[in-house]
């Protein structure tokens, strides 16, 4: 190694050592805070709720919505401005009738992002009405800007809830359920809930053993029901409830 090379190497090392001693300046995130409806797990951009699966005596039930923060957590709790976006529209849910108003004392205090929190789970209390036996009502909720939060992620600023008391065909029915129970029907589903005791319609029912178990039980329970009440029909009074 020549003398010049040695000197250059030592100079470079000294420069690097000096640079290593400087304070690092980190840019702080200082964008304004906003809120959005979280999408993940079981929560997407909308949901359907049916009192069909609730006990016959149930008159209300609560959905919990996951709301997330963008921005810096604050040292104090901040209210969440949640409003109905579709009030007055056809088939829109009505506050006080189909759901508990968002300004109601049972709900309003819970519409808060706690101090230091980055998320909140807020309640929406749904109310059962006789109309729901034949109709569905739509509740479009939105997070609106206020003094604490600016407008958030645009396609995650709203969440829609369909409220009804009718049964809806489970997504997995045609794949597995039909081998245990046959074609789907609302009264058939009610019978399965009330007489067979099966309510886990969100499960796949891929377990063939369980399908045989449920089929045998449903057949026996239906035979017992018919012996006492006669045949069971769907709402059209034509389609008889049977199991394969």
């Amino acid at each position: 190694m020549t003398r010049n090379t040695t000197l250059n190497t030592l100079l470079l090392a000294a420069l690097l050592a000096g640079a290593a001693c400087e304070n690092t300046v980190v840019n702080r995130y200082e964008s304004p805070a906003s809120l959005y409806f979280y999408r993940g797990g079981s929560q997407v951009d909308s949901t359907s709720y049916s009192f069909f699966f609730a006990a016959p005596s149930a008159v209300e039930d609560t959905l919990w919505l996951d709301i997330r923060l963008t921005g810096i957590p604050a040292g104090e709790a901040r209210p969440i401005s949640l409003v109905q976006l579709n009030a007055g529209e056809t088939n829109a849910a009505r506050a006080g009738t189909h759901y508990v108003g968002l300004d109601d004392p049972r709900v309003a205090p819970a519409l808060v992002l706690p101090a230091s929190a980055t998320s909140a789970v807020v309640p929406v209390i749904l109310l059962r009405t006789p109309e729901m036996d034949t109709a569905a009502f739509r509740l479009a909720l939105g997070i609106v800007p206020d003094d604490h939060f600016v407008e958030g992620i645009k396609d995650r600023a709203s969440f829609v809830i369909s409220i009804t008391a009718t049964a809806e065909k489970p997504a997995a029915w045609d794949r597995y359920y039909d081998t245990a129970f046959g074609p789907w029907g609302q009264e058939k589903m009610r019978f399965l809930i009330e007489h067979v005791g099966y309510t886990a319609f969100d499960e796949s029912l891929a377990n063939a053993d369980m399908r045989v178990f449920l089929n045998l039980k449903a057949r026996e329970k239906l035979a017992a029901y018919e012996a006492e009440h006669g045949p069971l029909y769907e709402a059209d009074n034509i389609t008889r409830v049977t199991f394969p």
């Binding site: 053993d209 039980k217 057949r219």
Partner: protein, 508 residues
């Protein structure tokens, strides 16, 4: 210029390929250089779990230039992986591979030549509970099992000895299947483990039924844990092994554990019983079973994946079910380790008292068929119609019954065993006679054509206690050696027994 060099090089290479190879080679026969095993392996070996298995083959030559391997390949058991259980000439192995039957291969390689020699044998692995007689008996209002192991040692009250508890009531039946029990366990940390294709032993009294692990006889499931939905009434009438798992008859209803990859070791919902009243007997064929309705005096077929019984599906050449009959006996005929072949039934017509024996094929129940054939009307003077306990000679297979004799053994409940040969419709009286103060309560022919199991057992009762006689057969005839090969005795009133063998997958 570059092209010229290339062509010149190619020409040189071509020229060299024409030079004759004048090398001096010596060719030797493979036998001359391959390793030689002087003392070969025996035809088969039995090993007990956690005990040492030692096999010491003698080689013509040994040394550092040899390497060895012992491979164990499971036979008919896909849930068990292949394994290498030794790397030395002498196998000295603590048996930890799962219970089952293996092809064991010994391989010796001479590293100098790369030549190898192999020898193949059969290895049966089981726990100490994997081979022997399980006598189902009752004593002081409790049911338990007296176990006689492969060494002839009696282990009385096995279930209570292992688990601290026997079952209430009178013993009814037990059943064993080597590889169809799937279940889950959860440890203290809440971690759930699913165990696949485990051996299971089920035992029932008239008041209870429990599931035990077939290797260690530890309790796996009590009554309340053994069902997807616990039946309202606890009144077991019997448990049977099937090709797919187990079948339980309880309170005049049938439940199945039918392995389909999802089972969790629990019986399913009962199959519809309608107006039927089941006799506590069954003939098993693969996963289906044939039972008898005492109300109508007729036969019914069940298959776990079909939700109603088969009652009237017959081939045209039979064309009828039997009705208005009294069932004297219904039982499966032992076959290979996997399944039964056909079954037999003996019935008496309630109208004219005619006694009939016929074969049936429960295998076909799962194919929507329920097949009877080869009916024999029993002639007057033949005593089989007075039988109280029965069994048939094992053997045969689905395509031919030539490997076994179409013979039904029976006793009228006294001290004698007779047999009736369906092939010539001749009866042999007093094939075996026990002491006059003993009473035959169960007879059984343990048979496996492939693994050469061929033992006739007579379970007798004397003054409230049991005696077991095991007999060899006379050659390949249906005759039983008059002198027992072994005799065992124990306390308690016997009802029946099963014989477990490490190569046999299920018991009937």
């Amino acid at each position: 210029m570059k092209t010229r060099y290339t062509l010149a090089l190619a020409a040189l290479l071509l020229a060299s390929s024409c030079v004759e190879d004048t090398g001096n080679y010596t060719y030797e026969a493979p036998d001359a250089v391959a390793p030689v095993i002087l003392s070969g392996l025996e035809a088969s070996y039995e090993a007990i779990s956690l005990e040492q298995l030692v096999i010491d083959p003698e080689m013509k030559e040994d040394g550092d230039h040899f390497e060895y391997a012992w491979y164990a390949y499971p036979i008919n058991h896909t849930a068990i992986p292949y394994d290498t259980i030794g790397r030395a000439r002498k196998l000295d192995y603590t048996v930890t591979i799962p219970s089952g039957t293996y092809t064991l291969i010994f391989k010796a390689t001479d590293k100098r030549h790369g030549t190898s020699v192999y020898q193949r044998t059969q290895l049966s692995v089981s726990s100490i509970f994997g081979k022997g007689y399980y006598v189902n008996k009752s004593e002081n209002g409790r049911g338990d099992v007296d176990f006689i192991d492969r060494n002839g040692t009696l282990h009385p009250n096995l279930l209570k000895q292992v688990n601290g508890d026997d079952l209430p009531g009178t013993a009814v039946r037990s059943a064993y299947v080597s590889n169809k029990y799937y279940y889950e366990t959860t440890d203290a940390a809440g971690v759930t483990t699913r165990l696949l294709a485990q051996p299971a032993f089920l035992f029932c009294t008239d008041q209870d039924m429990r599931v035990y692990h077939g290797d260690n006889m530890n309790l796996l499931k009590s009554w309340d844990e053994a069902f997807l939905e616990v039946p309202a009434v606890k009144r077991p009438q019997g448990v049977w092994a099937t090709g797919g798992g187990f079948m339980l008859m309880n309170d005049n209803a049938l439940h199945f554990i039918h392995n389909n990859g999802y089972t969790v070791g629990q019986f399913g919902y009962h199959f519809p019983s309608g107006d039927y009243r089941y006799a506590a007997q069954a003939a098993i064929g693969s996963s289906g079973c044939c039972v008898f309705d005492e109300n109508a005096g007729t036969f019914l077929g069940y298959y776990p994946a079909h939700n109603t019984p088969y009652t009237d599906v017959y081939p045209a050449y039979v064309g009828h079910n039997y009705v208005n009959q009294e069932l004297l006996w219904l039982g499966s005929r032992h076959f290979y380790d996997i399944s039964s072949t056909n079954a037999y039934a003996i019935i008496r017509d309630k109208g004219d008292d005619a006694v009939r024996v016929f074969t049936l094929w429960p295998h076909y129940i799962q194919s929507n068929l329920f097949v009877f054939e080869t009916e024999y009307l029993i002639n007057p003077g033949i005593g089989i119609g007075d039988g109280k306990v029965f069994t048939c000679h094992g053997g045969g297979n689905v395509s031919t019954i030539s490997a076994g004799h179409p013979v039904i053994y029976y006793s009228t409940g006294d001290n004698r065993v007779h047999y009736y040969n369906l092939a010539n419709q001749i009866e042999r009286r007093d094939a075996v006679t026990l002491p006059a103060d003993e009473r035959v309560v169960y007879i059984h022919h343990a048979y496996d054509y492939y693994y050469q199991v061929n033992i006739f057992s007579i379970l007798a009762e004397k003054n409230g206690n049991w005696k077991l006689y095991t007999h060899d057969m006379v050659g390949s005839t249906p005759d039983i050696q008059a002198t027992p090969a072994a005799t065992y005795s124990g306390t308690g009133t016997p009802v029946n027994l099963i014989y477990r063998h490490p190569d046999t997958k299920l018991t009937y």
